[in-house]
C-alpha cells in the first residue's frame, strides 16, 4: 500500500529508562524522539491522519508531552488526545510555499511547538494525532513521565527541570 506517511521506522532514538532510583524514590521515564515523517502528497488532496501513542500506566503520576511540527509545505493539525478521547490541546500549521498577500515575501519552513503537563493524568493510551494535507515535514514527539509518591508539584517541577535539558528540541 502506497502509504503517504512513513513512520521513518519510528525513529525511536532512545527509550530511556532513567532508572528507577535516579531520583531517590521517584521514577522517571523519558521517551525521545518519536518522529513522524510526513511526505509531500501533492496528488492526494485528502487529509491523512497519523498517531503516536504514549502509554500512561499506574507507575507514573506526572506526564509531560512536547510536540514540534516542522513543515515546509502543506497544512497540518496536531492534537493531544487523552485516553477518554478528549482533545486536550492543539495547534496547526499552514505553509503554502508562496509569497503571501502581505508583501513581506517571507516563506520557508514553519515551526510550531506545544508543551503540556498533567499531574495525575488519565491512565491509558494518550495520543498525539496529526492530520495533514499536502504536507511535507516532520513531527517530533517527546514524553516525560515521572512517579513521585506525594505527587508534590514543587518536587515534580524540580525533577522535570533536571530532566528537561534532555527534552529540548
Amino acid at each position: 500500500m502506497k502509504t503517504i506517511i512513513r513512520k521513518a521506522a519510528t525513529t525511536l532514538i532512545l527509550m530511556t529508562m532513567l532508572g528507577s532510583t535516579i531520583f531517590g524514590q521517584e521514577y522517571a521515564r523519558m521517551e525521545r524522539i518519536k518522529t513522524l515523517q510526513i511526505e509531500k502528497t501533492a496528488n492526494k488532496p485528502e487529509a491523512v491522519t497519523n498517531v503516536v501513542e504514549i502509554n500512561v500506566t499506574d507507575e507514573f503520576n506526572y506526564l509531560k508531552i512536547k510536540v514540534q511540527g516542522n513543515f515546509d509545505a502543506g497544512e497540518i493539525l496536531v492534537e493531544i488526545v487523552d485516553p477518554l478521547g478528549e482533545v486536550k490541546r492543539d495547534f496547526s500549521i499552514k505553509n503554502g510555499k508562496v509569497v503571501t498577500e502581505t508583501g513581506l515575501n517571507m516563506k520557508g519552513v514553519v515551526i510550531a511547538e506545544m508543551e503540556r503537563s498533567y499531574r495525575n493524568p488519565v491512565k491509558g493510551k494518550w495520543v498525539v494525532r496529526s492530520t495533514s494535507k499536502k504536507a511535507d515535514g516532520k513531527i517530533l514527539v517527546y514524553s516525560l513521565q515521572i512517579y513521585n509518591p506525594k505527587a508534590d508539584l514543587i518536587e515534580l517541577e524540580q525533577i522535570e527541570r533536571e530532566t528537561d535539558s534532555h527534552l529540548r528540541f
Binding site: G85, V87, N95, T102, L104, G108, I111, E115, R116, V122
Partner: protein
C-alpha cells in the same frame, strides 16, 4: 525600573505622535532570541494556535533602547486581534511555541492609528508579565489570560475528581467573564476558549441571550461566531427558503442519503451493550463521568471503560463527536 521605563515610552510615543503604533519594551535574551518582533493578524479566533506566513503582516527590529514598534497607520478602523511573537535564533520567522517557559508570543487588540504602550517585566516565560497602559480591552484580555492559564493547568491540581470539580468551577468562571465583560471581542475570545460549540448544546439559553446582547456588534469575529452556532435562526430561514424553491429532486436525494446514514448509525448503536447505551445517552447529554457514575450507581472507572468501548464501536474519537453523533 518601571518608573524609568514609563516616561521613556511616553516620550517615545509623543515624539512619534503623528505616527502612532504599538510600542513594546521587552528585554529578551538575545543570545537565544533573534531581536526581531513579528506581528500577525488573527482574523479568526479558531486560528489562535495556528501559524503561517500569511498571518504575518509586519516585522520590527529592536531599537538601541530595546524597543520594538509597529505602526498602526494602515490598520483596519475596527478592532482586530493581533499576535506579537519572537523567533529563537536559528529558527524561521514563522515559529510558535505554545506553553512552557519558551512561550514566545502574546495577543492584543488594536485599531487604526491607535497608540498602545506595552512594558514587559520579568515573568514565567520569554514574554514576561505585560503591562498595558490604561485599563482598556487589552488589560481585560490580560485579566482573561490569567484565568485561562488557571483553567488550562487544572490537570496539576490533584485527583481526577478534584480536577472535574475545579474544571466545572473554572469553566463557569470564564463563562461569567464572557457574560459580564464590557469589551465584546474579549468576551468572545473567552467563549472560544471554553469550546462554546459543545456548551451551546447544554445551555442554549445563555448563547441566545449572548447573541441578543451583542446583536449590534458587526465585527467579522462575531459574524463567524453567529454562523457557527447550531440551530441559529439563519439556518431555519435557509431551510424554509430551500423548501419553497425548486430544488425538490436534490432535497429528495439528500434526504435518502441522510436516511441511509441514519440507518448505519442505528446499526452501529445495536452493537452497544445495554449499559453502554445508558452511558451513551448520558454522554450525549453532555454529562460528566462523575455525574454519569452517580446517576447509574457505578464507579467513574466503569464509566470510563464504557466510554472507551463506545468510542471504539462507534468509531468516534471525542465527546464532541459523540454529542454530534446522529441517531
Amino acid at each position: 525600573m518601571k518608573k524609568l521605563l514609563v516616561p521613556l515610552l511616553l516620550s517615545y510615543g509623543s515624539l512619534s505622535n503623528s505616527n502612532a503604533g504599538i510600542i513594546i519594551k521587552i528585554d529578551l535574551d538575545t543570545t537565544r532570541w533573534a531581536p526581531v518582533a513579528y506581528l500577525s493578524v488573527i482574523g479568526d479566533y479558531t486560528k489562535i494556535n495556528s501559524i503561517s506566513y500569511s498571518q504575518i503582516i509586519a516585522t520590527s527590529k529592536v531599537s538601541p533602547d530595546g524597543i520594538y514598534k509597529f505602526s498602526t497607520k494602515y490598520y483596519p478602523e475596527k478592532d482586530c486581534l493581533y499576535r506579537v511573537h519572537f523567533a529563537r535564533r536559528g529558527y524561521p520567522p514563522a515559529s510558535l511555541v505554545i506553553g512552557g517557559a519558551d512561550q514566545n508570543y502574546f495577543f492584543l487588540f488594536a485599531c487604526k492609528e491607535e497608540e498602545i504602550n506595552i512594558i514587559s517585566e520579568q515573568g514565567e516565560n520569554t514574554i514576561g508579565d505585560l503591562k498595558f497602559d490604561g485599563q482598556g480591552r487589552n488589560s481585560a484580555l490580560k485579566e482573561l489570560n490569567i484565568k485561562l492559564k488557571i483553567f488550562d493547568s487544572l490537570d496539576y491540581q490533584g485527583t481526577q475528581i478534584n480536577n472535574r470539580f475545579f474544571w466545572d468551577a473554572q469553566f463557569n468562571e470564564i463563562k461569567k467573564f464572557a457574560d459580564t465583560c464590557s469589551y465584546p471581542l474579549v468576551s468572545l475570545y473567552a467563549l472560544y476558549y471554553i469550546d462554546y460549540d459543545k456548551d451551546y448544546l447544554i445551555d442554549p439559553k445563555f448563547y441566545h441571550n449572548y447573541l441578543r446582547k451583542w446583536k449590534s456588534e458587526k465585527s467579522e469575529y462575531f459574524e463567524v461566531f453567529r454562523k457557527s452556532l447550531k440551530g441559529s435562526k439563519t439556518n431555519v430561514w435557509l431551510i424554509l427558503l430551500i423548501s419553497f424553491s425548486g430544488l425538490t429532486p436534490i432535497i429528495t436525494v439528500t434526504y435518502k442519503v441522510y436516511l441511509k446514514r441514519k440507518n448505519n448509525a442505528k446499526n452501529m448503536l445495536t452493537e452497544l451493550s445495554i449499559n453502554e447505551r445508558k452511558v451513551f445517552e448520558l454522554l450525549k447529554q453532555g454529562k460528566s463521568n462523575k455525574e454519569i457514575a452517580s446517576e447509574l450507581s457505578i464507579s467513574v472507572n466503569t464509566v470510563k471503560s464504557h466510554a472507551n468501548s463506545i468510542y471504539s464501536k462507534l468509531k468516534i474519537r471525542s465527546r464532541k463527536e459523540l454529542i454530534n453523533f446522529d441517531i
